[in-house]
Symmetry: C2
């Protein structure tokens, strides 16, 4: 039988506000939702904690986990590995937690193949102009770097039609309400409710 | 392409609070949702208006509509016909309205067969004791009538696992929030958003 928790893959181009939305959601619903902590071989950045931001492992350890088929999805980016451990997520789901996976469309595809019950959510910016403006506001990036980010963003956005849900982050409060509704509605699906309320339906049909 | 609106079949045993929930939802969301008005051959009761509570027609008219395949679903109950016209609902859905169909599990099955995009919602009472108490509070019904209602309720409840969503109406505000989330989340599905935001995605990918 399905677990009470649901696995959510949330993808977005950078600048869409995905991290802020997930953070705001968890601030209100931290008791029944969490973000999956990925494994990586890259070095911790200042302030990053092992087990909180990532599980930091070396290449040999990561490759051993790959060989053990321990990952939902993994990828090599600029010479470093990133991956999502099945065991950790499964445990959270069975505790009834919803789990967010913050990965790109390629990871979303892999996860959906392995776990068809997972729900995929795409966060979209409200316009190209606004996306550009958000990327420009981030700081001291050169025009060249920003142009490259816009290109990467478009590549990510081109897969928007592969997702189960789309949240357009124009007004932040509305986008958060959309995200919240998606997770609440999922908890009302027949499979989840039948499991949660087994005793109730036994009583009603007695 | 799918319409922006969604057809919701809402079923429940009497005493579950279905009508109150739909009424409360529409009080807040009357601009983008409505209840389908059924056709019937039974006589109007005091206070019932033609076109508001039902479309009142005679047997010959109803049978003509059946022959024209004009109904999503219809049934004969105690010698009277009840039916849901396809044309009226389709028009509302294409205007972007969500439409509630207040029918039983048999109607739900028929509608789902004809319109697989329809979503079915079952409203459940929080316990058998509470259901009995709600039926008893309704007024001057004899024990025999109440026992019959409980039997009918159990028969309806036995089909709870055929529905897409289940809302347990224990705390009314929470049940209303569940219902509201289900409808809001449905508006965030990829198909609905891709249609609603066609111009946005053209802009983002330009």
């Amino acid at each position: 039988m399905a677990s009470l928790g649901t696995l959510y893959v949330v993808s977005a181009p950078s600048g869409a506000g995905k991290s802020s939305l997930i953070k705001a959601y968890l601030a209100d619903h931290g008791d029944n939702a969490s973000v999956s902590v990925s494994h990586t071989t890259r070095a911790p950045r200042p302030g990053e904690e092992n087990g909180v931001h990532y599980h930091f492992v070396n290449h040999a350890e990561f490759e051993k986990l790959i060989a053990q088929d321990a990952f939902f999805e993994w990828a090599e980016v600029f010479g470093n590995y990133y991956g999502t451990s099945k065991a950790a997520i499964q445990q959270q789901l069975e505790q009834g937690l919803d789990v967010f996976l913050d990965i790109d469309w390629q990871g979303a595809r892999q996860v959906k193949k392995l776990q068809p019950n997972a729900k995929t959510i795409f966060i979209a910016p409200p316009s190209q102009a606004e996306l550009l403006s958000r990327l420009q506001k981030r700081g001291q990036d050169s025009d060249e770097v920003i142009a490259k980010r816009m290109q990467e963003a478009q590549s990510e956005i081109s897969h928007y039609d592969e997702f189960d849900f789309i949240v357009v982050n124009d007004d932040f409060a509305q986008a958060l309400a959309d995200l919240t509704a998606i997770l609440r509605a999922q908890r009302c699906t027949q499979q989840k409710q039948a499991k949660k309320h087994q005793a109730l339906f036994s009583d009603l049909l007695a």
